[in-house]
């Protein structure tokens, strides 16, 4: 473990911005997934589905902050989506505080398989 890792906070704040501009906040323990921590803290801000990156129900857009993602079903997150910060909250691990909004798949959601997603590259933590 490097000195910088020791300085990394034990938890990050996740803020969910609602469509009316309302905000819901909860803490996410280091290395934990956004949706799992939201459920554990009894917060209802992002819809809960399969909790495994398969169903797309917890699709959100990251407005601010750095994060890592576990593999997400390409049916719900295209490479294009990933590049625009659209992720599945159940597969997203904050690296800094995060601000997110809901990004439910619309009727234009791809029903044909999209190209595989690349995980977000780990952010530079060397500072």
């Amino acid at each position: 473990m490097t000195v910088s890792a020791l300085r990394t906070p034990q938890r990050h704040r996740c803020t969910v911005v609602g469509c009316e501009g309302d905000e819901t906040r909860f803490e996410v323990g280091r290395g934990q997934r956004v949706l799992h921590e939201m459920i554990r803290r009894n917060v209802r801000a992002v819809p809960v589905g399969c909790r495994g990156g398969g169903c797309g129900v917890c699709r959100v857009r990251v407005l601010d902050g750095e994060y890592l993602t576990l593999r997400m079903s390409a049916k719900h997150i295209s490479a294009d989506d990933a590049a625009r910060g659209i992720v599945l909250a159940c597969r997203t691990i904050p690296v800094t505080d995060l601000v997110i909004e809901l990004a439910p798949a619309g009727h234009d959601a791809p029903s044909t398989p999209s190209p595989p997603t690349r995980p977000t590259p780990p952010p530079d933590t060397s500072t």
């Binding site: 819809p47 809960v48 589905g49 399969c50 909790r51 495994g52 990156g53 398969g54 169903c55 129900v57 576990l70 593999r71 997400m72 079903s73 390409a74 049916k75 719900h76 159940c90 029903s111 398989p113 595989p116 997603t117």
Partner: protein
């Protein structure tokens, strides 16, 4: 021999996002036996009460869901007969060579109007870890985890379910054990056997979608034990333990690590071909699906892979 034609669901191939997590789930939590890993990386598993070599195939992929469900038919002559019937019904069939899945004979595949791939096969090698046939013990190897006995059935989501029902009944010899009216469209529970269902379909605009794969347990106590395993290992439970009004089986819905829904299922009535179809009206559907809760949860219709 009264049960001929299509005998039962033989295998299901499930897509997973992370193979090592999936193996822990299906082998150590559900308690399936890991049979082999193919040269293409697919992993083959089976339940302790199944004679055939495998019944669950895991394939690592970019999305979750189901690749194919295969039905075992009585013998090779039946496979030929059903292939001819499918072709006469204008279903495009393809042929998969023996050995494409280890230990499995030739297969006949086709896509049904809901967008799912189905296969028929007549031959599969017997497992050396199946039920014993001389002075048999209950099981040959002591079961683990939820100790599921077999792959039992699947529920699939997709369009054109009335056409799918006609195909399964008119060509493959299934019968409609139960049907729910969803205001014009129908959900159906189809059987090819004495079981209350071998496959079920619920209408949904998203073709080829996968709602759950169900694994059989002997009784409701085993379902409760499975729930204890889920709680201990933090496996997300969707609903249950509860009972279905439809089929009357005891059940828990839960999720595998990449979001495919699984079910442990026990009981259900014995079906005979002269049984009338049990019908559910739209306003009672909640009771049909979750008998005690008497209403659907949000996830039933919206969460699938």
């Amino acid at each position: 021999m009264a049960l001929t034609g299509v005998l039962r669901p033989g295998y299901i191939q499930i897509r997973v996002l992370d193979m090592s997590e999936a193996i822990v789930h299906y082998r150590d939590r559900l308690g399936l036996t890991e049979v082999s890993t193919g040269s293409d990386g697919r992993v083959y598993l089976k339940g302790w009460d199944e004679f055939d070599r495998h019944s669950v195939i895991l394939r690592e992929a970019d999305e979750a869901g189901m690749d194919v469900m295969g039905f075992k038919v009585l013998d090779d002559a039946t496979l030929n007969e059903l292939t001819a019937k499918l072709e006469a019904y204008n279903v495009v069939v393809d042929h998969v060579e023996a050995g494409e899945q280890p230990g499995v004979g030739r297969r006949v595949g086709f896509t049904i109007p809901s967008g799912h791939r189905m296969e028929l096969f007549a031959q599969m090698e017997k497992s050396d870890d199946g039920p014993q046939v001389v002075n048999p013990n209950v099981w040959q190897s002591e079961p683990r985890g939820m100790a599921v006995t077999r792959f039992d059935h699947a529920l699939l989501y997709g369009p054109a379910i009335d056409e799918v029902t006609d195909l399964f009944c008119d060509v493959l010899g299934f019968r409609v054990a139960e049907r729910a009216d969803l205001g014009g469209a129908h959900a159906v529970w189809l059987t090819c056997s004495n079981k209350a269902h071998d496959i079920a379909f619920v209408p949904n605009p998203d073709p080829g979608s996968f709602h759950h794969a169900a694994f059989y347990l002997e009784n409701v106590n085993d379902v409760v034990h499975a729930g204890d395993v889920m709680a201990y290992h933090d496996i997300p439970i969707d609903v249950g333990p509860t009972r279905h009004g439809i089929t009357r089986g005891h059940t828990i819905y839960f999720f595998d690590p990449c979001g495919n829904r699984n079910e442990v299922f026990a009981g259900g009535y014995t079906y005979y071909p002269d049984n009338p179809t049990r019908e559910w009206t739209t306003e009672q559907l909640g009771k049909g699906i979750f008998y005690y809760e008497r209403e659907l949860n949000d996830a039933f219709l919206s969460v699938y892979t």
